[in-house]
Amino acid sequence: MAAEARALDPAALAGHRDHPPRMGFFTDTSICIGCKACEVACKEWNAVPEDGLLLTGMSYDNTQGLGASTWRHVAFIEQPGADHDGLRWLMSSDVCKHCTEAACLDVCPTGALMRTEFGTVIVQDDVCNGCGYCVSACPFGVIDRRPSDGGAHKCTLCYDRLGAGLMPACAKACPTESIQFGPLDELRERAGQRVAELHDAGRSEARLYGEDPDDGVGGAGAFFLLLDQPEVYGLPPDPVVTTRELPRIWRHAGIAAASLALAAVAACVSGRR
């Protein structure tokens, strides 16, 4: 509760007045069947290009990770000896986290990245000049530049669909409702119940990831129920938005700049003597 009270309203902070509730994803990986409908539905709707035909040998994951041309990515992890039948096969559909404190958005120098009235973060393709800053800023390794068009791309949480009251394509397709879409508050509540349910059923390994507004990104707009540590799924265990350090970075840069000016003066003045 305390956390919720402290939770930021990112849409308001981005100048959206009278905005709709913040929308997001809750991806419950405990019921993911790894069908990859989300990947295809996303591509069909957003006309994202095919992303390479590489057999990776990473279980059934030939997508490898999120990127400019993959906005949903299903991870597959085979864990021998981990479950009742001697094998656990984890599947999880990853997506842009739509952070409350979004580094990609903060560092974008053109305003191509934008916080929408739904609290989500999108790339405006008509604005992006492909500077690539967002790529290095994202603590989740989500956004990337697409070589074929030079622009940065990532999940938009189907912003166009949201505006028309439609569900994002991936959530709509998901056969088992592993991907749930809705107002973030509701999703957080539902997720909390689901974890409690799983814990009651003896599945103590269930945990939420990205749900905590007190975490390093102020809570994610797309969060997850995981059955193992985040890094097992290729997620950073404790990401922190880089911009939190920016004031101190600026201060040091300022001091350094002043030092340089002083050094230049000193170099010239001392020479006179």
Binding site: I31, V40, L55, S59, T63, G86, W89
Partner: protein, 858 residues
């Protein structure tokens, strides 16, 4: 199910969330296993042994549903003294003719009553054994697909179930040797795991609870496929799980209208509605046909009405009582003419012209090489597809061109490729896996030369009729008399699919649409293209196009689409109520007898005569529907009961028996009989079989391979391999092997492996995974090799086709190939190129000592 029917699987996940236990039994740990409560690895081809073991457990532990079994199954029915079981004959049933490889059914009969039902003369029309063999081959078991076949309607029974020849006791004896120890030895399933499955199944069955079985081709694509489903049926009947909500045995079919393709069959042995295709022996005219194919009791007693209505639909005014309603226009069978015999007919030059409608046998049919060789021997081939599939291009760049066996300029086959319309470009109905018809509407007209198959067939027929119009040859009468007038629509002259549906539904003498098959008559006053679909166009309304949102309906959702028969969603649902007509429990209520209304009521449409009370007993000698008693839920069966013992309808035994697959590294532990004795073998130099069990040379093929689908692909790949969005998800043909097998054979993860059988060798990338586990079978370690079957040389992702490896040894009832369990060898590295490929296969055949005789023993 999660792998191949993910959207259907949502209901399993929902059930699981509500507390259901999900058990997954599969040679591979799949995406279904990943979310199941229990996963049981099993040797491919050992399912009957496993299920037989469960049956044995249920009988021994007396955990069967006693009231249900007594009231609704044939458990109490007494068999004739002539019947001899596999227990008596070391793995075969009485009546086996070893010469001509078929069973005489005469001894598989109920005692008493009319041994030969008056209205259904099932005796063999011709006593000559080779003819009887041919009649068997014509899939008499597949006809009456909804269950019925000849059997005595009034047999003797023993309600104490103590009579030594009652079905219950026979069943007990038959399955007695399927002990947990045997299950462990044959299936590679530990006794603990087996015991747990038994416990879970039995605890979850009874008045308050039901268990459902879900299967797919993992059960059917075996030389014992039908018997495998039968085993499940016996088990579900014993547990009282048939005809009840949450129960049943669900076939998860793999194509949009594969159910429809059997209901309105493009199958050699069937006419629409599971009416058998006439046979040359015993079906000479309508009377003999009806006499042979009709039963005494239940709705199959009206076969004549169904047949006459069909003939009226096809030949209209030309069909009259005087000319047997043009019955003679129907061609006759003289044996099996399945697609695999067709290939032989192509190879021997009998078959000259071949149509492929959205089918790709060059990679998608078993023994793909033989399929291509057959096509190379045709005069002409018409391929209708949306993309350039291998069956259209083999003459240019097929494997036989690569090996140098064939040269393009020496292949005489004339090939027409005609682009087909997509489902969005035509209207029509699909029948889904739960027998529900759903209409899809044309969204846009097809572009270019693309046309629907309806268009193609209609206009081809029109042209042929025009060309033959002046013919006076009697042979052409069936074509010229055919009713072939359909309204044409749009700029492409597309036949109106709804007009075709209306014909399928049928009409009466005044051309009014019929609303139920019970209205059909045998006097020629009704026409109906498929009697079980009668009602789909009731009141002239396309019932298949009904789309009342699910949210606005009950959980049965009866106003979405239309399910045959009569829009019933759960078949035999009379069994959901007890003999008195009350639900077995409130929790599991589906339909029940409403005393006040004098009708069956409930959530579903009753699959029973609506006003027949539970206490109704027919008078002796009653026939047809009138003979159905108030406690006969199985209204299509000749005795109204669920069949634990199948006195008719199957050509390979009244009870399921574990036989080893055609090619197995193991001997049959249960009997001296290794294989299904009446499995159908196609002897041909290109279809050599491997030695099995203890036979010399069997060790050349020490592993078992099984084939399957991946979520990301579809069938032979024609609808997935060509799509970048799907191709990228599974971008290469691979084989899945255990780490232990990888070590044993030096296979490297992501490296190449070559898989070899007596037919061919294919290469695949290697995925080493714990999801494939070695099993302990008959005292040694068995490795299984998983091979998805979606690949071929064309498309966006390419690879060898699994079907190169497959042989043609067919299930005798339905002629399905055995691709789910086959012995093979695997070796590291890529397969040879050019002539060396055939040389490799030849060397393997030599090492295993394979001859024309190998694997063909009874």
């Amino acid at each position: 199910m999660a792998e191949c029917h993910p959207v259907g699987f949502q209901w399993v996940m929902e059930a699981k969330a509500r507390g259901a236990t999900v058990i997954h039994i599969d040679p591979r740990f799949t995406r279904t296993s990943a979310v199941a409560d229990r996963y049981v690895p099993i040797r491919a081809g050992a399912d009957i042994a496993f299920l037989g073991g469960v049956i044995n457990h249920v009988l021994n532990s007396e955990t069967y549903f006693k009231e249900y079994v007594l009231a609704y199954t044939n458990a109490s029915t007494i068999l004739t003294e002539d019947y001899a079981d596999t227990e008596d004959l070391d793995g075969v049933f009485s009546g086996l003719n070893r010469e001509d490889r078929f069973y005489d059914f005469d001894t598989w009969r109920y005692q008493g009553g009319d041994v030969r039902p008056a209205s259904g003369d099932r005796s063999d029309p011709d006593e000559r054994p080779h003819v009887r063999g041919r009649v068997r081959q014509a899939s008499r078991g597949e006809a009456h697909g909804s269950g019925g076949a000849a059997a005595s309607a009034w047999p003797e029974t023993d309600d104490t179930l103590q009579h030594p020849r009652c079905v219950f006791q026979v069943l007990k004896r038959h399955f007695a040797r399927y002990t947990p120890e045997v299950v462990e030895q044959i299936c590679g399933v530990s006794q603990e795991q087996f015991a747990e499955v038994c416990r879970l199944l039995t605890e979850n069955s009874g008045r308050d609870r039901t268990t459902a079985f879900v299967y797919s081709l993992g059960w059917t694509q075996h030389t014992t496929g039908v018997q495998c489903i039968r085993t499940a049926a016996i088990l579900q009947l014993l547990l009282g799980n048939i005809g009840r909500p949450g129960g049943g045995i669900m076939a998860l079919r793999g194509h949009a209208s594969i159910q429809g393709s059997t209901d309105i069959p493009t199958l050699f042995d069937l006419l629409p509605g599971y009416l058998p295709m006439p046979h040359a022996w015993g079906n000479e005219d309508l009377d003999t046909y009806v006499r042979a194919e009709t039963v005494q009791k239940g709705f199959w007693a009206n076969t004549r009405s169904y047949m006459v209505s069909l003939l009226k639909a096809w030949w209209g005014d030309a069909a009259t009582a005087e000319n047997d309603f043009c019955y003679d226009y129907l061609p006759r069978l003289t044996g099996s003419h399945s697609t695999y015999e067709t290939v032989l007919a192509q190879l021997d030059g009998t078959c000259k012209g071949y149509f492929l409608y959205g089918q790709n046998p060059a990679v998608g049919s078993a023994n793909a090489r033989m399929q291509r060789l057959g096509m190379a021997n045709l005069d002409w081939l018409v391929v209708r597809d949306m993309v350039m599939i291998e069956s259209a291009t083999w003459w240019k760049d097929g494997p036989e061109i690569q090996t140098g066996e064939q040269r393009t300029e020496e292949i005489g086959t004339e090939v027409f490729f005609l682009p087909a319309a997509a489902h969005t470009e035509k209207s029509g109905s699909f029948t889904n896996t739960q027998r529900m018809l759903q209409w899809h509407h044309e969204a846009v007209e097809p572009a270019g030369d693309a046309r629907s198959d309806l268009w193609f067939t209609y206009h081809l027929g029109r042209r042929i009729r025009e060309k033959l119009a002046s013919s006076v040859d009697d042979v052409d009468r069936p074509v010229l008399d055919l009713t072939w007038e359909y309204p044409l629509r749009g700029s492409l002259d597309e036949p109106d699919a709804e007009a075709v549906l209306a014909e399928i539904n049928g009409w009466d003498a005044e051309q009014h649409p019929l609303s139920a098959y019970t209205q059909l008559t045998d006097d020629g006053s009704t026409a109906c293209g498929c009697w079980i679909y009668c009602g789909v166009h009731a009141d002239g309304v396309n019932q298949a196009a009904r789309r009342k949102p699910g949210q606005q309906q009950s959980w049965v959702a009866p106003e979405w689409g239309w399910a045959w028969p009569a829009n019933r969603r759960v078949l035999y649902n009379r069994a959901s109520a007890d003999p008195d007509g009350k639900p077995w429990s409130e929790r599991k209520a589906l339909i029940w007898w409403d005393e006040e209304k004098g009708r069956w009521v409930g959530h579903d449409v009753p699959d029973f005569i609506a006003d027949r009370p539970p206490f109704f007993r027919p008078s002796e000698g009653a026939t047809g529907p009138a003979a159905i008693s108030g406690v006969d839920p199985f209204i299509m069966q000749a005795d109204g009961k669920g069949w634990l013992f199948a006195p008719a309808g199957l050509v390979d035994g009244p009870l399921p028996t574990h036989y080893e697959p055609q090619e197995s590294p193991f001997p049959n532990l249960l009997y001296g009989q290794q294989h299904n004795p009446v499995r159908q073998l196609l002897r041909h130099p290109e279809n050599r079989y491997q030695p099995s069990g203890d036979q010399p040379g069997a060790d050349v093929f020490p592993y078992v391979t099984t084939t399957y689908r991946l979520t990301e692909h579809h069938t032979g790949g024609g609808m997935s391999r060509f799509l970048p969005y799907l191709a990228e998800l599974q971008p290469a043909f691979f084989c899945e092997v255990s780490p232990q097998l990888a070590t044993e054979r030096g296979l490297e993860h992501l490296g190449w492996a070559t898989v070899v059988t007596a037919r061919s060798a294919i290469e695949a990338r290697v995925l080493v995974t714990e999801r494939i586990r070695p099993l302990e079978v008959q005292g040694r370690t068995l490795h299984q090799v998983g091979l998805p079957w979606h690949w071929g040389p064309n498309g966006y992702t390419t690879g060898d086709a699994f079907n190169e490896l497959a042989h043609l040894a067919l299930e005798p009832n339905v002629h399905i190939q055995e691709v789910k369990a086959m012995a093979c060898d695997i070796r590291p590295g890529r397969r040879p190129r050019g002539p060396a490929l055939r040389e490799l296969v030849r060397r393997y055949q030599e090492r295993a000592g394979i001859t024309d005789e190998t694997g063909t023993e009874v």
